[in-house]
């Protein structure tokens, strides 16, 4: 491009107001980065992703899957034939049912696949936006933001926040500034929504675990509640996951939780310690409940980090300490009311008997 100045009279040239460009950063390398490997990096050195080896286990899983499918097909075929031989009408019915199951199953699989792709795309988007925030670029973010808006709008009503964003942005803002305004106006609201969801689910399951008598039931409860929570959070950020997708999401969240574990443990150490000294004084079951609640809250926060289109900065980072207090308060308040309801009765009885004694004397 020529860098020489040019000046035109306004009438002499066709000038259009700027629609910000939608060209995206060419960051192929960035997108191809393998997420599954441990991020062993130091400055600008980086461990290369491991070459995939043809291993026996892969052959095993493939052949095993093929075997299962073949077996199922054979069984189904025999079942249909058998029912035809009993009665043709029954045969047709069974055929129709099988077909329906097949279609619905494949449909769900494809849909789940699409939705879990959405999550993958979200992770790419995070990286793209991060790159934009670090650069001095201009006019590249609006296209991406529109894409995000389209996804979120299907799940959450953000029209008011978007209107605010539209009002506050101007031509002079570069990508970094636009992203900041977007984060403040639109995403922070979603963050609050997600935090509400987390605190609801976490404290609910904390109470349930504290009250439930069976250890096996505890596990089922935790799995059920946390899966519900993941679904809700992923919806809030506009990348809803169904059963198949949720499986992938759970896996990712668990990996992240593990990877992030060490640093976050340090950050939250004070909080955890406080929690422990508190839980030490109350009963084991209640402490378990609070522990589970905190675990679910941590799962939730990790999910937020995965699903949010932009990564959190230092200030907007959701903190476990905000939730911890809420959870333990909730559990304790319920347990206390239960206890006091129990302990009220004997006292009442005692005073009654005292009265009776006084009367008799």
């Amino acid at each position: 491009m020529s860098d020489k100045p040019v000046k035109f009279e306004s009438d002499a040239i066709k000038a259009s107001t700027i629609e910000q460009q939608e060209t995206l950063l060419d960051n192929e390398a960035l997108l191809n980065a393998d997420d599954k490997n441990l991020p062993v990096t130091s400055g600008n050195l980086k461990l290369k992703p491991q070459q995939k080896k043809q291993s026996w286990s892969r052959y095993f899983w493939r052949s095993f899957a093929a075997l299962v499918v073949a077996g199922a097909t054979y069984e189904a075929w025999q079942f249909i034939q058998a029912s035809f031989s009993i009665n043709p009408l029954l045969g047709w019915g069974v055929t129709a049912l099988t077909a329906l199951t097949l279609v619905a199953g494949v449909g769900a699989l494809i849909k789940g696949r699409i939705k879990s792709r959405r999550l993958k795309r979200r992770l790419k988007l995070q990286k793209q936006l991060e790159a934009l925030e670090a650069s001095d670029s201009y006019g590249q973010s609006l296209g991406l933001l529109e894409q995000i808006n389209d996804e979120i709008i299907q799940e959450v009503d953000i029209s008011q926040a978007l209107a605010n964003f539209e009002q506050q942005k101007s031509y002079s803002h570069n990508d970094k500034e636009l992203l900041q305004i977007y984060s403040n106006q639109v995403l922070s609201g979603l963050d609050r929504l997600a935090m509400d969801a987390i605190s609801k689910h976490a404290s609910e399951s904390a109470v349930m675990v504290a009250l439930s008598p069976l250890a096996a039931a505890d596990m089922a409860l935790v799995a059920w509640r946390s899966s519900k929570m993941l679904q809700e959070i992923s919806r809030i950020y506009g990348c809803p996951q169904n059963v198949f997708g949720r499986f992938g999401l759970t896996k990712q969240v668990a990996t992240n939780l593990m990877l992030a574990g060490a640093s976050e443990l340090v950050a939250d150490a004070g909080v955890e310690l406080l929690g422990k000294s508190l839980t030490a004084t109350i009963s084991g079951k209640v402490a378990q409940g609070i522990g589970v609640g905190i675990l679910i809250a941590r799962l939730g926060i990790q999910t937020m980090k995965l699903c949010r289109p932009m990564q959190f900065d230092e200030d907007s980072q959701p903190r476990l300490s905000q939730l911890r207090k809420l959870i333990s308060e909730r559990v304790l308040s319920i347990v206390k009311t239960k206890n006091s309801a129990q302990s009220d009765k004997p006292e009442l009885a005692k005073s009654e008997s005292n009265k009776a004694k006084r009367k008799s004397s």
């Binding site: 491009m1 100045p5 700027i18 002079s172 803002h173 106006q185």
Partner: protein, 460 residues
């Protein structure tokens, strides 16, 4: 008892109220008046304004009300906010430039965020004093370190260089027949002084790229216009000082008086309690004018920045104890160039002042750079030029009054070599103010970030 409690609460509240003193400076045409007008305007219009997303306490909805208050220092002229705004909104012309010191005080009522302070008090006030003065006056500060002879020597060294050399013919002519050891002659002194002043004014107006003009009051006298203290000029003759009524003795006496009675009190009065300093720089003019102007501006700004010398063991601090904690060096008129080049301009500014900012930063002062426009008068547009898309700015040209679309050239992000400076051409056009809606917040670029940088941290 109740009354006493109320008084105690009031006392605490007064104790918690804060005051920030903001000094705005910059060489002529850097946009000081426009900056202060816009600053005040944005604050006053905070309620209906959606254009301040980066002023955090405003975004949090904690700003309750803002008003202009009369300044308690009644002997200092008030900043003519109303006049400036009238010029901008009604006459669509740039406001009158700064010729003198002036002050304006804003009182901002806000909700307290800090959860400990909140227990004592819900709402607090922040008083912001904005002081406006010509940056040229600041350049007088180095004079305090020199006596008359040293100053004269320095002046004639400076005069031997271009472009000031070619402008000084008339001044040299008026010096003919002057003898410093002669009996003091008021008429002659006055005549030569006037010619000297004329020369300095020429330097300012015609000498493209001369920024460092000393003494500053000779170009912008403020209320000293016509006072005999300004009737002196540098003189190299070495005359015995003890002969008291020679021309030389008289000149020296006036120089000393200028030092003692004009320069020193100015700094003492305005700098002893400054909290935040804004230095506005017009980079665009320098880019238009080329390498020599760049060098000159760089050295002048270095003098300006280091004259707020903040360190512990320097004489300025010992004398006046300034307490500047933050310095914002801002490139104004960002709307004159396409928005995609704003980062380049910021880079250019920080490259230019790297050394001096480093010095100041070393003293523990926070230095920030920004690129902003106090009043946005153009609009970015896209044009096709020679088969390529070019982002330009569209606005009313100040000289011709016609609407133009201007592509000013590309500001490089790396420091340029001297040859590159000569090859690279820029054409930044001065734009006029378009018709603006009366009574609305002025359009701006990044004023919110400037506000946040200057006073944002005071809203606890």
């Amino acid at each position: 008892m109740k009354q006493q409690l109320k008084e105690a609460v009031e006392l605490v509240e007064r104790g918690l109220d804060k005051n920030v003193r903001l000094c705005v400076t910059g060489l002529s045409r850097a946009g000081k008046t426009a900056f202060i007008t816009s600053f005040v305007n944005q604050l006053l219009h905070h309620k209906d304004s959606s254009g301040l997303p980066f002023w955090l306490s405003h975004a949090e909805g904690r700003i309750l009300a803002v008003k202009i208050e009369q300044h308690p220092e009644l002997h200092i002229p008030a900043f003519p906010y109303a006049d400036a705004l009238k010029a901008i909104e009604e006459e669509a012309s740039w406001p009158q430039s700064t010729r003198n010191v002036s002050q304006i005080r804003l009182s901002i009522k806000y909700k307290i965020k800090n959860r400990w302070v909140k227990k004592l008090q819900q709402v607090s006030h922040l008083k912001v004093d904005i002081v406006d003065y010509p940056g040229e006056w600041l350049l007088d500060l180095p004079l305090l370190q020199m006596n008359y002879q040293q100053w004269s020597r320095q002046f004639y060294n400076w005069l031997a260089q271009e472009p000031q050399k070619s402008l000084s013919k008339q001044f040299h002519e008026s010096l003919k027949g002057f003898d410093a050891s002669q009996q003091y002659d008021e008429a002659q002194l006055k005549k030569i002084s006037q010619s000297f002043r004329g020369f300095l004014i020429d330097c300012k107006q015609q000498g493209s790229g001369i920024h460092c003009i000393q003494p500053g009051r000779f170009v912008l006298p403020g209320d000293l216009d016509g006072a005999p203290v300004l009737d002196f000029f540098p003189c190299l003759d070495n005359v015995k000082v003890d002969i008291s009524n020679t021309n030389f003795a008289q000149l020296e006496k006036r120089y000393d008086y200028y030092q003692e009675q004009i320069v020193k009190p100015f700094f003492k009065e305005y700098f002893s309690k400054v909290d935040r300093q804004v230095l506005l720089v017009d980079c665009l003019e320098v880019l238009n004018q080329g390498y020599d102007s760049y060098k000159e501006l760089q050295s002048t700004l270095t003098k300006l920045i280091t004259s707020f010398n903040y360190g512990e063991s320097n004489w300025f601090k010992r004398m006046f104890q300034p307490s500047i904690s933050k310095l914002l060096v801002a490139a104004s008129k960002s709307d004159h160039l396409p928005p995609e080049q704003h980062p380049n301009l910021k880079k250019f500014l920080s490259n230019m002042l790297n050394h001096s900012e480093n010095l100041v930063g070393y003293q523990g002062v926070e230095v920030e750079n920004t690129v902003f426009s106090a009043i946005e008068v153009t609009q970015p547009v896209k044009t096709d030029y020679q088969g390529q898309t070019l982002i330009c700015v569209k606005g009313l040209e100040l000289d011709s009054g016609k609407e133009v679309v201007n592509y000013p050239g590309k500001i490089p992000t790396q420091p340029m070599t001297k040859t590159q400076w000569q090859q690279q051409a820029f054409n930044f056009v001065d734009f006029a103010i378009p018709e603006l809606p009366v009574g609305e917040a002025l359009p701006h670029q990044r004023m919110d970030q400037v506000i946040q940088a200057l006073i944002g941290d005071k809203f606890l």
